[in-house]
């Protein structure tokens, strides 16, 4: 079973600009024509909103504190493009064409979210990248992501695991212990529910330690599926990340 699952994972060409997997780039006509957005910059405004939303959804609730480290062009030109407002808007779960984006800082204050901005050293994994660390009570989340053009994003890591997602599809991120049969259980659960896996990626901290698996799915899973997955052995956490739903 495991061998069969691994055939899902493709090893495509590496893009020479970004070092990113080519398969992570553009898959959809609406990432070329679109998104519908509030200006001024698709990579520095709309893409930043979407990165913020991924981080917020990974945390699973409204962050109380956000530490934002900006790299490369994000760090150089964030102010002019409103990248700070856009990332903040994403952390508030706003969509890219939400007309409150220009006032996202005021909206953040209203919900008591404290923002800290840091200028990162070097270029990061891509000219437009950001590392986001969020906390809310005991909960923590961390992502490293980049805006790769036209509002399309590439997420390089979730909570310290090197797993890559695009945010183009409903995605579930599963934290589990690295035990035999876990992957097979998860994929058979998804296939029983008739949900097709578009892309899958796994990373583990070490042998028999914590691991994360992400699934990009063709259709959004139901709440009951997520509960069922949580009941599988060795599963620690299941998080749903879905930017395809309007906020």
């Amino acid at each position: 079973m495991l061998c069969r699952i691994l055939t899902f994972v493709q090893f495509p060409d590496v893009n020479i600009y970004t070092g990113a997997w080519k398969s992570l780039r553009f898959k959809n006509v609406f990432s070329i024509i679109g998104p519908s957005m509030v200006g001024p910059s698709s990579s520095h405004t709309a893409g930043a909103v979407r990165i913020g939303r991924v981080a917020r959804q990974l945390l699973g609730c409204q962050p109380e504190k956000a530490q934002m480290t900006l790299f490369g062009s994000f760090a150089e030109t964030y102010w002019g493009h409103g990248t700070d407002l856009a990332l903040t808007a994403g952390l508030l779960n706003f969509d890219t064409d939400d007309e409150r984006i220009p006032e996202a800082d005021i909206e953040a204050e209203k919900v008591g979210m404290v923002m800290e901005w840091i200028q990162g050293k070097g270029n990061g994994p891509h000219p437009n990248s950001v590392k986001i660390m969020l906390t809310a009570g005991e909960r923590k989340a961390e992502i490293v992501a980049a805006s790769i053009g036209g509002g399309t994003i590439a997420v390089y890591s979730l909570n310290g695991f090197d797993v890559q997602i695009t945010g183009e599809y409903p995605t579930i991120a599963v934290t589990h212990s690295d035990s035999q049969g876990v992957l097979a259980n998860m994929t058979s659960l998804l296939s029983c529910e008739g949900i097709n896996i578009g892309y899958m990626d796994v990373d583990r901290k070490g042998r028999s330690e914590a691991a994360m698996t992400v699934f990009e799915l063709d259709t959004a899973p139901t709440g009951s599926l997520i509960e069922e997955m949580l009941r599988l052995p060795h599963i620690l956490e299941v998080t749903m990340i879905d930017l395809t739903q309007r906020s």
Partner: protein, 302 residues
């Protein structure tokens, strides 16, 4: 999608006797599992946003937050009222409309990224002005957006549509290529002619750097959109007349990647080179930084 290059795309069209728009629409529906009608409806909504943005840019206040830009579309539209435009009326109108949408973007208004926000004026400029000129129905233009999307899809996956990665050739250049190819198909040209138009248009954009003053999507982005709409019309006309791109469009896209990769960081959206680093560019940047500091101080001590 069943195609990775423009040549493959044109071959599919030839074999199946379809337009680029049809192939893109069908492949998109198949790839995403969303019904064709639904995909079309989404694109139709986007076209309405584009038309609204043209109107807003021609009639509303487009002064940007920085105060650096706004109102140029109106100037061109007024000028056309009382003088004969050197370009000729239809091209000048495309230029005015493209400026209008780009100014709406710079003033934090709602636009459709085509392919990016920095280059959001070119396709609406060409499409909306041509619709008025030729009396086309909305649905025809929505199909045109699929043509443009297919071309952009190939450029994005083989080169780039991001100024930070590949300079302005990747944003404004891609939009010009997309608009030119779409215009050929809208006027009844073949998929092969549309692909030639892309090649012709892109050749004229190679090497264009991304050098926005103060890092803002305003100077030179807005005027590049206005002029880009004109270039797209010109490339479409060449292709419709039977002029071919001797270097095939896919190879020109390869050059875009080569040139973009070799471009220094300062010419890739960092606001540190090119027009941004001219004496005037620097002065404007300095003034904006000071203005921002003053505002931040005022906010703390009202």
């Amino acid at each position: 999608m069943r195609f990775e290059t423009l040549e493959q795309l044109a071959d599919i069209c030839l074999k199946e006797n379809k337009t680029i728009a049809q192939v893109m629409l069908e492949d998109q529906a198949k790839e995403t599992g969303v019904p064709v009608d639904e995909v079309f409806r989404q694109m139709a909504e986007y076209y309405q946003v584009m038309k609204e943005a043209v109107q807003k840019g021609l009639t509303g206040n487009t002064k940007s937050r920085s105060g650096l830009t706004g109102g140029d579309a109106k100037k061109v539209a007024d000028y056309m009222q009382h003088s004969e435009a050197s370009l000729g009326g239809p091209s000048a109108k495309a230029m005015a409309y493209a400026l209008a949408v780009s100014e709406v973007n710079a003033s934090m208004g709602r636009i459709i990224a085509t392919p990016t926000a920095g280059s959001c004026g070119i396709i609406p400029g060409v499409f909306v002005s041509s619709q008025e000129r030729f009396g086309w129905e909305d649905d025809k233009l929505v199909n045109g957006l699929f043509t443009a999307g297919a071309i952009g899809y190939v450029i994005a996956n083989n080169a780039s549509i991001s100024g930070a990665e590949g300079g302005c050739q990747a944003e404004v250049g891609s939009a010009i290529g997309m608009a030119a190819g779409a215009m050929v198909e809208l006027r009844g040209g073949s998929p092969q002619q549309a692909v030639h138009a892309v090649g012709l248009a892109l050749k004229n954009c190679l090497g264009l750097i991304c050098d926005p003053v103060a890092g803002l999507v305003e100077i030179p982005c807005i005027v590049r959109n206005g002029l880009g709409a004109v270039t797209a019309l010109a490339a479409a006309d060449m292709a419709l007349a039977g002029v071919g791109s001797v270097i095939p469009a896919d190879e020109v896209i390869g050059v875009m990647l080569e040139v973009g990769s070799a471009m220094p960081t300062k010419h890739r959206e960092t606001g540190k080179g090119g027009l941004a680093a001219t004496p005037t560019g620097r002065k404007l940047t300095k003034e904006l930084v000071e203005q921002r500091r003053r505002k931040a101080k005022e906010a703390k001590q009202p």
